[in-house]
Amino acid sequence: MRHVLRALRARNLIALAVAIALVVSLAACTGGQQATDTGTQPKAETSEVILASTTSTQDSGLFDVLIPAFEKADPEYQIKVIAVGTGEALKLGESKDADVLLVHAKADEEKFVAAGNGTERKDVMYNDFLIVGPKSDPAGVNGSTDTTAAMKAIADAGKAGKATFVSRGDDSGTNKKELKLWTAAGVEPTTTVDKWYESTGQGMGETLKIASEKDGYTLVDRATYLSMQDTLDLGILLEKDKGLLNQYGVIVVTDAKNQPGGQAFADWIVSPEGQKVIGEFGVEEFKQQLFVPNANQ
């Protein structure tokens, strides 16, 4: 067991967060936690920071520019992204399998920090959601005045057998946002009763594709939609409404294995340098900002 732990401390065997969880829990069983106090270890040249984030953020491509920029600014650290739903991202933080979180479910995030799992939560940026659907728009979302009315229209058309709504159904930030919108519209759809309500349990990309194939409506973040719009038969039916904004926050996990690394990432992403990278992301490709940095507001 000891050599496994040593390898762990050297951080050269960590391939998967799940693997860590397994080894750590086994170590806990064998009393191996004592091992952290013994022996000396060579200082690693770079240390790995585990960032748990959401699939939608990963799918948007933001990390492809954000992480190289951070690693250039702070070469001591190497970021490893685990893209899961917001729900699991928070769980990974709770079990200390992640060092820092970048998620978008403000209420849950604040609960997470209040429970002592995170040192603090900071706003990083926001993006906005879109309601997309078939161009024929059988629910008439296009004519809706706001998000609540649009959701209601979809539900009504769905119950009349004219429309389908495809939900992520995966506890992700987007899914939580969607559920909030349904609640606001006074609708409580379930897959067992409502035939018009499909739940994919998958990421944003898959859900969009399924919505496209099934002529369904869905709620999507702008970044993912823009990166995939060419392959979809879906159009933007509602955007820029106040109810569709999506705030991202960063949380450093308390007592994480690489808390300094997590802290460094959190500090950098809210710094003017990190905010600039976020603000410029996507402008060249899509001619519009995908994420609006708002750390200092």
């Binding site: 699939t55 699991e88 769980k91 897959t191």
Partner: protein, 236 residues
């Protein structure tokens, strides 16, 4: 260990109470993979017998193709089926993507080479002399074929078990062509992936236990068939 204990406790209660529609997912899995296996068997068995017992030009090439097909990556199958059935694909008008039919189709393609190759090997291992013996007693070709299948029974069990086992625990292709739609195309493997992603280890573990149980059952059945066959083993 706490994580396992919690997940097990939660998983067990989910299985017992069927709170999260766990059993429906199990039923869908069995229905889809069972159907795919049956169709693959109906198509693959005649091919297997032909390849195993027949002598014709191109037999070796065909065997090579099916043996290679056994290692066909399921995700590649899923990709091609998804492309074919998608709206912009050649069969897009059928609107089959993200349906059980699509899943059966993908699993059929994965299971078929396994069933053909394994049954060909099983039939090929029946001694030619045994077939000749039957022939010399006046058996028609059909009757010799039936006898060969009966003698190769064990290998055919392996073909069925192998095919079914491969597709029921496959996740990539069904995810791609089924879409993991709740109450519709959600099967055990895709649900496990989803629940794990969502951090719902209890639900994931409950399904994983059922899945392992099913695969175990299939293998126990196969092993017991093997043992009873060994008792019958010819002394010749």
């Amino acid at each position: 260990m706490q994580i396992y204990a919690d997940a097990l406790r939660e998983g067990w209660s989910l299985l017992v109470s069927d709170a999260a529609g766990v059993w429906q997912v199990v039923v869908t899995s069995l229905a889809v993979s069972g159907t795919a296996t049956l169709i693959a068997l109906a198509i693959g068995l005649p091919f297997g017998v032909m390849l195993g017992a027949g002598r014709f030009i191109g037999r070796r090439a065909a065997l090579l193709i099916f043996n290679t097909g056994m290692g066909l990556p399921p995700v590649a199958v899923g990709l091609v089926v998804a492309m074919t059935l998608s709206r912009r694909g050649p069969l897009g008008d059928l609107s089959l993507l993200y349906s059980k039919t699509a899943m059966v189709l993908a699993q059929l393609i994965i299971a078929l080479p396994i069933i053909v190759a394994v049954s060909a090997a099983a039939v090929g291992s029946v001694p030619r002399e045994l077939q000749l013996q039957a022939r010399s007693l006046g058996a028609s070709r059909l009757r010799v074929g039936v006898l060969t299948l009966a003698e190769a029974r064990l290998g055919l069990f392996a073909a069925v078990a192998g095919g079914f086992g491969a597709i029921i625990s496959e996740v990539g292709a069904v995810q791609m062509v089924g879409g993991n739609l709740a109450g519709d195309t959600r099967v055990m493997t895709t649900a496990i992936v989803q629940y794990t992603r969502m951090g719902r280890y209890g639900q994931a573990l409950a399904l994983a236990i059922v899945l392992v149980g099913i695969v175990l059952f299939v293998n126990i059945w196969l092993t017991s068939a093997q043992t009873s066959a060994q008792r019958w083993e010819r002394r010749q």
